[in-house]
């Protein structure tokens, strides 16, 4: 009953604080609308340099060697070579470890040479009208180089990369054909004038998004900005929460509550639960903005994935982390001004390094490594997983666990600091 009444009191105080409500709900809505619109074009032309690429080379012959050389020369990719199954490759890409995965099947070069030779032979035989040999040499099956793309890659980027691969492979094919033609011509028809070389592609690219449950989502600024700014707003709750705690301390309410048997902890718990509920409402509201409002402004609709409970679990864990942080700030800060300044600056720094403003995949390597210390990054990665990769509880559990650990550490820090002050 004490707890319920404490939550009721916080609800009353919050709903009568218009400025606080504006910060809590209007600020993130406006941020999402403005920044999603502003960043839409930027997201379409994301800097694609140094894209991590995985090559699974089962060919180890001229085609794969030439392809790798061409990719290195493009200075477009950071190449890693590994041997793994198709499914493992798909999983690696789906996890976001690499943006692109290339599988070059066994004997692709050999088959390419055979096919080139056959086509050349066919061409040369056409001079004599002999078709017997051609039918046995021409295999109608095409050779496939498999490409997997991380679901968060932009469509424009994917098209560019695919075109590049096609161009490189066409060149390799052409070289193969030319060398076969030259060989044959020198052997058999040194003086003949052959008909034009057949240039229809033998090797084609087979593309697919490497996402779970056959979901193919095209990421955009909506997919980034809605979860990003919702998390930012959730963590911004630390300012009103810390202010609330400091105000109670300054006006003697905390003193009075501390003199009541067992009440202060309940009041603090009531505060935290209230603010967690507020953060969940914020989250639901921002989802609605992504699903209903942004499409009205010509933006793509937010795809919220397949698992609403897992989505709200991440939101709940993020809300707990944010309120825990608010409690810590409120305990340590000595004045409202100090809490506002410290809380705001700290959340902005955590947001910046956590990939809220600039997504981590376009950050320099050093910043990518730093970004993993930010709880906003943990939340964002979990939301990415759900929105873009259709992750379930198992896949996002590490991020949820980190958020809960942050919450526990914040509470522990606040408790220890309070105890230290009490014994001082």
């Amino acid at each position: 009953m004490k707890l319920l009444y404490s939550i009721y009191k916080e609800y009353k105080v919050l709903t009568r604080d218009r400025a606080g409500l504006a910060i809590t709900f209007i600020m993130p809505t406006v941020l999402i609308l403005i920044i999603t619109l502003i960043q839409d074009t930027t997201f379409r032309s994301v800097n694609e340099a140094s894209v991590p690429l995985l090559i699974v080379d089962r060919d180890n012959d001229s085609l794969s060697i030439t392809l790798e050389k061409s990719l290195i020369n493009s200075k477009f990719f950071v190449i890693t070579k590994k041997q793994m199954t198709d499914e493992e490759t798909k999983t690696e890409i789906a996890k976001g470890t690499y943006f692109i995965g290339v599988i070059i099947p066994e004997n692709t070069s050999k088959k390419l040479r055979e096919k080139s030779g056959a086509r050349v032979t066919k061409l040369l035989n056409s001079f004599s009208g002999d078709t017997t040999e051609i039918e046995s040499a021409l295999d109608t099956n095409k050779l496939n180089v498999q490409l997997f793309f991380d679901p968060i890659t932009k469509k424009s980027f994917k098209t560019t990369v695919s075109n590049s691969f096609e161009r490189i492979i066409s060149q390799i094919e052409m070289q193969s054909m030319m060398s076969a033609l030259n060989e044959k011509m020198q052997e058999s028809f040194p003086l003949a004038k052959p008909s034009p070389l057949e240039i229809t592609p033998i090797v084609t690219l087979k593309e697919d998004y490497a996402s779970y449950n056959n979901s193919s989502i095209i990421p955009n600024s909506v997919q980034h900005n809605v979860p990003a700014w919702t998390l930012f707003a959730m963590f911004f709750i630390c300012i009103p929460l810390a202010g609330n705690i400091i105000k109670e301390r300054d006006d003697g309410s905390a003193f009075r509550l501390l003199t009541m048997p067992g009440s202060y902890m309940i009041v603090i718990l009531g505060k935290m639960l209230t603010y967690v509920i507020v953060s969940l409402i914020q989250f639901a509201l921002m989802l609605c903005v992504g699903v209903f409002v942004l499409p009205m402004m010509g933006m793509p609709e937010l795809n919220i994935g397949n698992s609403l409970p897992v989505l709200f679990l991440v939101a709940f864990a993020s809300g707990l982390a944010a309120t825990g942080f608010g409690l810590l700030v409120g305990t340590i800060a000595t004045s409202h001004d100090q809490a506002s300044l410290f809380g705001a600056v700290f959340v902005i720094i955590l947001a910046a390094i956590g990939g809220i403003w600039v997504p981590t995949f376009v950050m320099p390597e050093v910043m990518k490594k730093i970004s993993v210390i930010s709880p906003l990054n943990w939340g964002l990665e979990a939301f990415y997983g759900i929105f873009l990769r259709n992750f379930g509880l198992k896949e996002i559990f590490p991020e949820v666990a980190k958020l809960l650990a942050f919450f526990a550490a914040s509470l522990g820090g606040a408790y220890l600091y309070q105890k230290y002050k009490r014994l001082k």
């Binding site: 009953m1 004490k2 009444y5 404490s6 009721y8 009191k9 009353k12 105080v13 009568r16 604080d17 300054d250 006006d251 003697g252 309410s253 003193f255 009075r256 509550l257 501390l258 003199t259 009541m260 048997p261 067992g262 009440s263 309940i266 009041v267 009490r422 014994l423 001082k424």
Partner: protein
């Protein structure tokens, strides 16, 4: 008379502080007393009250409330105490009714009993007509009266008042003091009162203790204290004992 509060050689020294805020303080408060704790700024009154309320531990010595200590049974000790802080410890955007209902619930009260108690107290202190107005719209005197009621809701045996009438008009001061006297007389409520209004203290308190520099300088029944010091008022006693020098640190 039985003892409600027994303070035995209590000291408190904050870390890094050059001297003890409370230094070997011993005194007793009997049930039914209106006990005035007087002293200049920085004398150690707030530290003493905080220890009495169990907010932080003593460096040495023991505080017994009804024979119990905060160490042995903090819950029982706190149940005995009602606190009226010097600050207006209320939520300005809530009404008087909402504030008192919340604090009543925090004391473990509820239901129609609490509602009746809140209404009764608001009526006695002349706030019935304004009870559904937000505290932010109240005058200083009205806020003080609500602040007082908040400490009375659970019928504490010991009511601790830290400057309960500071900054209020004569009418509100009169209403507060009269209500407290009535509670003491009719319900036997023990009151620990601190103030810089020495005339008010003399009129209100049955016993007075004066502390300075963390030490107990004198204590006794108000009238005896005046006569034994050959003075005409508590103010004279106070100045005679504590001197006239400023206590700026």
């Amino acid at each position: 008379m039985s003892i409600l509060v027994d303070i035995q050689h209590v000291s408190k020294k904050y870390k890094d502080a050059p001297r003890a805020a409370v230094n070997d303080l011993s005194l007793t408060i009997n049930k039914g007393d209106i006990f005035g704790l007087l002293g200049p700024n920085g004398a150690g009154k707030t530290t003493f009250i905080s220890m009495l309320c169990g907010l932080f531990p003593t460096t040495s010595g023991e505080i017994y409330i009804n024979g119990l200590t905060h160490k042995s049974n903090s819950r029982a000790c706190k149940q005995v105490i009602g606190v009226v802080p010097q600050e207006i410890a209320l939520y300005p955007k809530l009404t008087a009714w909402e504030n008192l209902m919340f604090l009543g619930h925090m004391y473990g009260l509820g239901g129609s009993d609490l509602k009746e108690k809140v209404k009764e107290n608001l009526t006695i202190l002349g706030l019935e007509a304004n009870m559904h107005q937000k505290i932010i719209s109240y005058s200083g005197g009205m806020k003080r009266r609500v602040n007082l009621i908040a400490g009375l809701l659970h019928n504490p045996q010991l009511l601790i008042l830290d400057e309960p009438t500071v900054g209020v008009d004569v009418q509100s001061k009169q209403a507060i003091i009269e209500h407290l006297k009535k509670l003491n007389k009719e319900k036997g409520m023990t009151i620990l009162y601190t103030s810089h209004h020495l005339e008010e203290a003399e009129d209100f308190c049955s016993h007075i203790a004066i502390i300075d520099d963390g030490k107990l300088i004198t204590q006794g029944a108000t009238k005896e204290l005046i006569s034994s010091n050959n003075c005409n008022s508590i103010e004279e006693v106070y100045l005679k004992i504590t001197g006239i020098k400023f206590r700026d640190k």
